[in-house]
């Protein structure tokens, strides 16, 4: 089986496509182009949960768990910002337990921004962004304690999770919080699905964040991803059709467009 160490023509083509798509989208958006992003059910779930807290006057908790500074965190912040805005408008209490000091600084800024944007900067309480621990299970037990004390009406679990996911989501379930989770790692999604009211799967996190934040970079990236995936879907469809045809009519079996993908520069 042939391996890949240096790009083949097909790879170069795809790579160029990726770069072009990304920059095209950024350019369009900077020119003021508005993508209509699909309003995924997750977004409704998020807003529903916050609304419920407003009715009951209960606190809202949002954790990015083990997520460290990077694109995933920024996606989470897109969501957090819009939640924080509503929280500020409804004058609710916000709890943002933290795991990593680096992330904490970034999180605090964007929550403050959100309060300012909502015109409620006076309500912003730095204490609401609380550092628990940077040890996985110490953090988990700290989170458990926090939820049992504050009994929030909604608990949002967004970002990268590891083994502690079950501990966190179960805590929310016990205090009867409406829970919405979004996990970048598929291993943990299963636990969230059976302990949370709604779970955003994988890239839905990016989708939701782009929808809520309208941050040009995030929207642009999502749009570029969609278009690149469309290329992949096209390739697969062509491949499936050609494979079927060459099975059905063996005389046409020379027709193998997929070989182009592995074609080297020497033309073999």
């Amino acid at each position: 089986m042939n391996g890949l160490e240096h790009a083949t023509p097909a790879v170069i083509a795809l790579l160029v496509a990726a770069f072009l798509l990304l920059f095209r989208e950024f350019k369009r958006i900077n020119k003021g182009f508005e993508h209509n992003i699909r309003r995924i059910p997750g977004v409704d779930a998020i807003e529903g949960a916050v609304g419920r807290c407003a009715e009951q006057g209960r606190a809202v908790s949002f954790t990015t768990a083990l997520t460290d500074v990077g694109p995933v965190l920024y996606a989470c912040l897109g969501v957090l910002r819009s939640i924080a805005k509503r929280v500020a408008q409804y004058k609710l209490k916000l709890l943002v337990p933290q795991y990593s000091p680096e992330a904490m600084a970034v999180v605090e800024d964007s929550v403050r921004d959100a309060y300012n944007e909502a015109g409620r900067s006076s309500l912003f309480d730095p204490e609401s962004i609380m550092f628990l621990s940077s040890e996985q299970f110490a953090f988990a037990s700290g989170y458990m304690g926090l939820l049992h004390r504050e009994k929030p009406g909604a608990a949002f679990l967004f970002g990268s999770f590891a083994a502690e996911s079950l501990v966190l989501s179960e805590a929310g379930q016990q205090v009867g919080a409406r829970q919405v989770a979004a996990s970048a790692s598929p291993e943990q999604v299963a636990f969230f699905i059976c302990t949370c009211d709604y779970t955003l799967i994988g890239e839905e996190l990016f989708g939701a964040s782009a929808y809520l934040s309208r941050d040009p970079i995030q929207v642009g990236t999502v749009a570029a991803q969609d278009r690149f995936k469309l290329i992949i879907v096209a390739i697969i469809s062509v491949g499936v059709i050609s494979a079927t045809i060459s099975n059905w009519f063996p005389e046409l079996s020379w027709f193998k467009p997929l070989n182009l993908l592995s074609l080297g520069w020497e033309g073999k």
Partner: protein, 277 residues
Amino acid sequence: MILAVGAPVFLGISRAPSRMVSAERMYDVMQGVTFAPGEVAMVWLDFGPNTIAENEPQAVVIIEHLLRRRVPVVLLSQYQQSERFLTRVPQEVAQRLEREHPGQTWRYGEDWINAGYKPGAAIFIQALVSAPDVAKFLGRDVTGMPIAHFPRFAQIGGVERVKLVAEVTGLVGVFDTVVQFFQKKGYRPTLVHGCTSITIPEAYIFLDSGQLNGLLEGIAGAAWYSEVLRKHFPASDNRDLLVTNTALSAAHIMIILLIALGNLIPLLNRFKRGRHG
């Protein structure tokens, strides 16, 4: 729970493990690879104590099979916490084999070497793949002996002579790195993988695409593999593993019952209330 698990362990009850097709296929794959003199197998042990329960039995059966075949094995790791297993696992396997075959010896430096922990992940692997002389590139083994000075490992040459690569890990991303970078023009090793159960569903997509040639699914996979080994090498003893696997099955039953109860009891309550109210 303790009881469900403890009973089989204590009484040493063991049932035949569940049939794992993937493990059977992997045996054939490992048996199918032919090694010319100078060609080696490379075994990555990338697990720490956290996943010892599943990964160590896998490492044992893989290394056991290779040592039985007298294939020279290069052990190394991308994960510092596996330090101890790199030395312990092959030693214990060798001792067991020597007990099993009096008069024969399996020795460090002849049947296997330990190149230790190699940082750099993707950067390291892609360099290893392009290196003209693997033995020279790996430098020294953990005892500080240049690997090129072990007669059976001096003649490896380019990575093409690494015929089989085994990756035993419970870490996210480590296996992916091997899949992505352990290849070059005209070369892709026969790749086998021992994964913790968590990542079984992930591994299947690589089996389907042929990027992965053999899979041990958690401890169940290791258990069935050891059964297969015993079929071919009747002297080998794997009772411990079977007991563990039986205990594990008992634990599964417990969990399933608990989930069922957890869902039924509230249902019944609601039903009762429905009648009274």
